[in-house]
Amino acid sequence: MDIRLRHKICAAMMMGTSVMAMLVAGCYSNNCPVENMVTCNYGFYDSEGTPITYGDTITVTTLMPGYKTVYTYRKLGNATITKDAPDTALVNQGYTESVTQQRRDTVLLNKLCNASSMKVPMSFFHDRDTLILSYNMITLKDTIKVEHKSHPNVELPECGTYRFHTLMNVTTTEAAIDHIEISEPKVNYEGNTNVKIYFNGVIED
């Protein structure tokens, strides 16, 4: 074979080897999701299905497993005081102490206002989440019960593990909410609206 040709091919082989090495050891990027927690997305609509920005302040509380001891102090002509621990000073001031057992709860969203949607985390290992929506302008509260199934999910090992959910059923009380429905049962980090909340009233043009 022609020596020049052999040289060229030899050079091409070496170049190819180098290219392969660079390809293997080259840039590496992953497509990990931006959100580090999977949340259920609730969209706000008026009773006829028009997307709205809800003007009132909403606080979302959820019930937790187990009970807690609540100490309530009452005194005629004074506001009722609730504490998680006994307070002897109040008793000395003439307050009457009463001890009760209540479901544990925690605040998921605090004073959300002028929002058109909300993102609420879901429990990993429970089949039903109870969400209590408190409003600023309405004394009554709404309770949303979300039945779901959960399973672990790994997109990429370098992204870690997530918990995905599948919505089974959603029910609500009707203080400020007209009705509620599931729009996308699969809860993941894609950001789709999973539940539509239809509030009372119709937006005026």
Partner: protein, 303 residues
């Protein structure tokens, strides 16, 4: 861990480059070996180029190849393959090929401690096309395409999942998730003759995932025979040791030319009659006849 494996890869590629260079130099030495004092130069007989073209054999034999890069990658990184290929040679131009092997992926992320394991066979079918103008020489530069498939099971495990709000914890381990993956590849490669029927070559492959079975629990992070699925496409490569199997071929067909040996042995007369021999060509007796190919390279006809 990632940096360490990259260093290993650089070392391995450097060793492979050195090996390729040494082998090419040895081949050159053989090619340019001087005639010893007292030794008579080997006689040469010539076969007309036109005659070669007319009698180009359609089926030129089989080629068996083994990938050397995959096993090294398996040893020094998280993913590697053991694979071989059987290739047909049609007119030294078209090379239908079947590749098969076993791919293994055993990976644990350093930060998240999530591990992924898969080990399964895979197969690819496709065709390579020799892009060199001179089809008769032993070296090839080719473009090709492949369709690949792998049916495999994979395991994913990680640290226990803990609910940050409601509390509770559960171990995370999912085993035996079924997946069938299909992908396509574009191949660009080079191969050179090293020694007799042995060739060596590299190929760069652009791979694109066509479809994979989805699981609720985990996406297949690594597909045997394809590689990592971090993106919808990826790059790969092979460094192959290739052996030409000329099964079922007549000896006179080995170079892809259907030349009757008897004609060559009596060739001087024949070619003289056709005025296709060179007057300066020596024709001593008791010597092996050698044909000159279209590109001018020499090849001794085996008796």
């Amino acid at each position: 861990m990632l940096n360490l494996s990259i260093q290993f890869r650089h070392i391995v590629s450097a060793v492979m480059m050195a090996g390729a260079s040494v082998m090419a130099m040895r081949a050159q030495e053989q090619q340019t070996e001087p005639v010893m004092p007292g030794e008579r130069p080997k006689p040469t007989k010539y076969v007309a180029v036109e005659e070669q073209k007319e009698h180009q054999v359609f089926f030129q034999g089989f080629t068996l190849s083994v990938d050397c890069y995959g096993p090294v990658a398996m040893m020094v990184s998280d993913y590697g393959t053991l694979e071989g290929a059987l290739r047909l040679n049609l007119k030294n131009t078209f090379f239908p090929i079947i590749e098969a092997g076993v791919g293994k992926c055993d990976k644990e992320d350093f930060n998240t401690k999530v591990s992924y394991k898969a080990s399964a066979p895979f197969a690819r079918v496709g065709i390579d096309i020799n892009m060199l103008k001179d089809k008769f020489q032993s070296n090839r530069l080719y473009l090709g395409a492949r369709y690949g498939i792998s049916m495999f099971k994979y395991d994913v495990a990680g640290p226990a999942q803990t609910d940050p709000i409601w509390g509770g914890s559960q171990p995370f381990s999912v085993k035996g998730l079924d997946c069938t993956s299909h992908w396509a590849e574009l191949v660009f490669g080079v191969e050179v003759k090293i020694f007799r029927n042995f060739h060596m070559g590299w190929a760069i492959r652009y791979k694109r995932e066509i479809a994979s079975t989805k699981s609720d629990y985990a996406k297949p992070n690594c597909i045997p025979g394809y590689g990592y699925t971090t993106d919808s496409s990826c790059w790969g490569g092979t460094y192959s040791l290739i052996f030409d199997l000329n099964w079922g071929l007549k000896k006179s067909h080995k170079r892809g030319v259907n030349v009757d040996i008897r004609t060559i042995e009596n060739g001087l007369q024949t070619t003289d009659n056709r005025q296709q021999t060179t007057d300066s060509a020596p024709t001593p007796e008791n010597s092996q006849p050698t044909t000159i190919q279209e590109n001018g390279t020499e090849e001794r006809q085996e008796e």
